[in-house]
């Protein structure tokens, strides 16, 4: 069991990084990669909406969270990972779920 302790680190980091990237874009308009379905390609820079249509950022948030959580879970020493309380995984996730509901309530007014 203990050899898989880094899985806890991955799950803890993934959600936090995903939401951080999402809010980075929401509040500051920062995104390093955008997918434009009309153009059918990924772009670093924002494209003009008249010609490029809407952008999808979900792939960037996902891939960013995947990369960060993979790196951190591989770098964190196993002893440290084992010390992380198991319940932190669901507690942090539950907090993120609540934060999503609170933030996205803007759609329902």
């Amino acid at each position: 069991m203990k050899s898989y302790a880094s899985f806890k680190v991955f799950s803890l980091i993934f959600g936090a990084v995903y939401m951080s990237l999402f809010w980075l874009n929401e509040f500051y308009g920062i995104a390093f990669l955008r997918y434009y379905p009309v153009l059918g390609g990924f772009y670093n820079e924002r494209q003009p909406p008249e010609t490029a249509g809407p952008a999808i950022l979900w792939y960037f948030w996902l891939s960013g969270a995947l990369a960060a959580s993979l790196v951190v879970s591989l770098v964190v020493p196993r002893k440290w990972a084992e010390r992380i309380p198991h319940n932190w995984v669901w507690l942090v996730s539950a907090a993120l779920f609540v934060a999503i509901f609170v933030y996205e309530r803007r759609w329902f007014y």
């Binding site: 993934f14 997918y35 969270a65 996205e104 329902f108």
Partner: protein, 154 residues
């Protein structure tokens, strides 16, 4: 092609929903020795055997959703915006975040369900399973409503 992918996405989601709901019920409380009711039998499945299938179905279903997303963004979302159905857009925004958080939870979920089931993981196993079940139910229902929204809101 897109229609085929939508149907496949829905079928995979049904399988995921069934497996995860079984598991979520099974960790709700300890099964009674003499329980013969439908709920007892529904809960009394060998839950750990579902784990790998659930992880696989979650990942494949999410990839399917990711492949469908561009078409949704161009066709469906713009229609929802034209119809001023802001709430429908909102529930989809929540769906995409939930799918991402669910994907991130999978490694820990797999660890907590790894046989032999460790007593030290019992609470974490229960709550992570419930969260994933909530995610899958939310995403399934939102997906179905949005898929049928023209019929639901003529």
């Amino acid at each position: 092609m897109v229609q085929l992918l939508v149907i496949l996405h829905a079928l995979l989601a049904v399988g995921l929903l069934g497996a995860l709901t079984h598991q979520a019920f099974s960790v709700a409380r300890r099964p009674s020795a003499h329980g013969h009711s439908f709920v007892d039998r529904y809960r009394g499945v060998n839950s750990p055997t579902f784990t790998n299938v659930i992880v696989l179905l979650f990942v494949i279903t999410s990839i399917g959703g990711g492949l469908l997303y561009p078409r949704y963004r161009i066709d469906v979302r713009s229609t929802l915006e034209d119809l001023q159905l802001r709430a429908a857009n909102g529930v989809f925004e929540i769906k995409e975040h939930f799918a991402a958080l669910g994907l991130g939870l999978l490694p820990a979920y797999w660890l907590f369900w790894r046989p032999p089931l460790a007593a030290e993981y019992a609470a974490a196993r229960k709550y992570v399973t419930w969260m994933l079940a909530f995610v899958v139910w939310w995403n399934f229902l939102v997906g179905e409503v949005l898929n049928n929204i023209k019929g639901l809101y003529p």
